[in-house]
């Protein structure tokens, strides 16, 4: 399961804990671009330890070392996201790049000796986020090239999904596909899920609505300090009809940017 530390994937993680009665029987993969707000990393490690999670962290170490990134001024955003997110994810999942795993004894991340490829990922993508998402399935298979044939998705009905796969298939599972941003916050409220404080106003009249890398994500003007206030804000307040990712600069570079990145593997 991919865990970006954001609200959607944290809700997804919570659902896994519910589904497995307090346990999470699969690894949680976090792709660290190194430009995440430091608080996200603290939050990640804290709950990984507290909830006994099998946390696996991947990173494009080569690109970061060579400073081949957008914040370093070397490349544009699309190329940077592709390197730090899409490629990092792809090679972390395949096991080709080093993976770190949380050692619950030492409470540290350590290089993992297991380099087995993961054949599927569970992700928190939602249909209402972006037009291109609305064409996904709950179970979306990708073939070896990670190609995604939008026109030929498996049928899904009566709670029956494509769960048989030819060897070599990679599958993405999107349990939150039919959730909205509002559903997410209402569920956070209902379950009292500890959510990272970046989503709340810390007294400066600003909060994050969507979390990403700090060079590319700007907070929105909002004085919501609690989950309830956010729910209100989404229901009837100023955000009731403004797209959620409007604070994310990398989405704006080209019209189909998100679409092409999705094909590369960036969620």
């Amino acid at each position: 399961m991919l865990w970006s530390i954001g609200k959607d994937s944290t809700v997804l993680l919570w659902l896994a804990r519910k589904a497995f009665f307090g346990h999470v029987p699969f690894p949680l993969v976090h792709i660290d671009t190194s430009y995440k707000v430091p608080e996200m990393i603290t939050y990640r490690d804290k709950f990984a330890l507290e909830w006994n999670l099998n946390l696996v962290v991947g990173q494009n170490e080569a690109a970061l070392k060579a400073k081949e990134t957008f914040p370093d001024g070397k490349i544009d955003r699309i190329a940077c996201c592709k390197a730090l997110k899409a490629n990092a994810l792809k090679h972390t999942l395949s096991g080709e790049w080093p993976r770190k795993r949380m050692n619950h004894q030492t409470r540290q991340l350590e290089y993992d000796t297991n380099t087995e490829p993961y054949t599927g990922v569970i992700v928190g993508a939602r249909a209402d986020e972006e037009g291109s998402r609305s064409k996904e399935r709950y179970f979306s298979p990708r073939d070896k090239q990670s190609d995604w044939d939008v026109g030929d998705q498996p049928p899904e009905f009566w709670n029956q999904f494509k769960t048989d796969f030819a060897p070599g298939t990679h599958v993405r599972i999107h349990p939150l596909l039919d959730w909205t941003e509002l559903n997410i916050w209402e569920y956070i409220a209902r379950e009292n899920i500890p959510i990272i404080s970046l989503y709340f106003d810390q007294g400066e009249g600003k909060r994050y609505r969507s979390l990403g890398c700090y060079p590319c994500t700007t907070p929105v003007e909002s004085t919501s300090t609690t989950v309830q206030e956010i729910v209100q804000e989404l229901k009837s307040g100023k955000f009731s009809n403004i797209a959620e990712r409007s604070g994310r600069a990398q989405d704006k570079e080209d019209g189909g940017g998100l679409e092409s990145l999705r094909r590369e593997g960036y969620m």
Binding site: H23, S134, G151, Q153, D164, T169, D178, A243
Partner: protein, 592 residues
Amino acid sequence: MEQMNIVIVGHVDHGKSTLIGRLLADTNSLPDGKLESVRLMCERNAKPFEYAFLLDALKDEQSQGITIDSARCFFNTAKRRYIIIDAPGHIEFLKNMITGASRAEAALLLIDAYEGVQENSKRHGYMLHLLGIRQVVVVVNKMDLVNYDEAAFLKVKTEYEAFLGQFGLVPAAFIPIAARDGENMVTPSEKMPWYAGKSVLDHIDDFTQAKDKQELPFRMSVQDVYKFTAANDDRRIVAGTVMSGQLKVGEEVVFFPSQKRSRVKSIEGFNQAPRTTISSGEATGFTLETQIYIRPGDLVVKATDVPPLSGTTFKVSLFWLGRTPMTVGKAYKLKLASTRVTVYLKEIVSVMDASELQTEDNRREIGRHEVAECVLETLKPLAYDLAIDFEDTGRFVIVDGYEIAAGGIVIGQVASEASAVQKYRAQRDASWEKGLVEIQQRQQLLGQRARAVVFVGDRAPELGKLLEQHLISNGRLAYYLGRASVLSGMGADYTGALGREEFVRRLGELAHMFTDAGLIFMTSMQECDDAELEILSVLSDPFEILVVVCGLNPFSQRVPDVQISDAMDLESAKSQVVQLLADKDVVPEYFL
């Protein structure tokens, strides 16, 4: 706020996307700036503005110009929030249409007033019926193209009403509209004063929510039985989603088709207050008072509720989506709730080209996009209900290879004469090329009786191997064949896509060959049930199968010949099996 899924279907180009774009715009449900940005894009590309473009967010979709998948979008009325599903009209995308439509509680079906009732108008109407969507409003679009003429509207209405009537679907209303211009969409159209009915939006608000299934008998399909012993959690949780009814702590439950019984000890959950009742719609879990062996796919029913049907042969109505036709005699996998079984198409009763609803006989195949009534047969008994009684346990999908290739509903139970395995064995025996040696001769030569011994449970492989060693060192001819060995050689083409029974069938064939050769054949299965054992027994007949169970007994009918508790050491376990072989005169006692 109340929420409802509605689907919009219809023949290609009859105006679904336009209608949806219009609904979103007219209810102010578009994100700020969306309408302007689409208008701008049209201007930039020198294309006339279309409401349909609002939905066509995908690049390649716009270049193709047709809706290829069920988009989801949202709008609100004063009454509730709607999730609206646009289903593609093109026949090539029937599986996408089904994907979208199956989630809906109600449907709008569009027909172009100018083009009239088309093939897909009929097919979609029939699919809505099969999918179990009972609330349907028919919208006759593009009335502007027929000068808002009432006669043109009535012509479409009469023809289509008659078609839907053939299978008992009665639409809530027929509404004449012009989606592009908003006529009769939100407010009554001034251009069609002859129409006294409500607007599209008002009719949508008149749809009613699906009825709560809490009052119905209890049904839950076992998704899995969880043990988290590694994490110091000793609960044994039966997990699944309650499809209907309610269940309380202390109540007696029966697991079908095995008919094992127990009582609910506790309701389990994470981050929730302790509870004593679970009800329909909940994904949940419970523990039992006694340890019984249950498997994913078992159907949990309350002892006091009506039991489900159970058997190997049943009549269904299904639609076929597979690229290759469904063929009589070929093995497929059937998924019903959480159950997976191997299934064969036994007989085709009638095939209807859904657009014409005609019955054709003597067919051996069901082609792509066809709807058929047919008889299916499984190797293992399946617990199910008729779709008219219980939606969730009365419908299923069929997997061909790796793909979901069909969906269907159970419409009747069929008494089966001989079971599929028995027929299969009769055929095999008839074509068996017999040698000149009788089995008695072999047994005499080897000084033993040929038998198959099946070890069941976690410790089964170890025990099987020990016994093989013991017999061989005592001069008996025995052979142990493990699961991996079956799968790697004989079963190299076995992918699991066919279902477990195919593995069991192959194992049964091997048992037959080895025993026919006069050997004591041994194998182990981590899991097994009465039905699987029955398959093995039929296939290895006339040689009796001896059953050794290690740990929890998975059988409800078959009494194991030897039962080994988890506490017993392997040496003592071995002696028990050795004693069994002596008692059964498999090997002469003085040899042991």
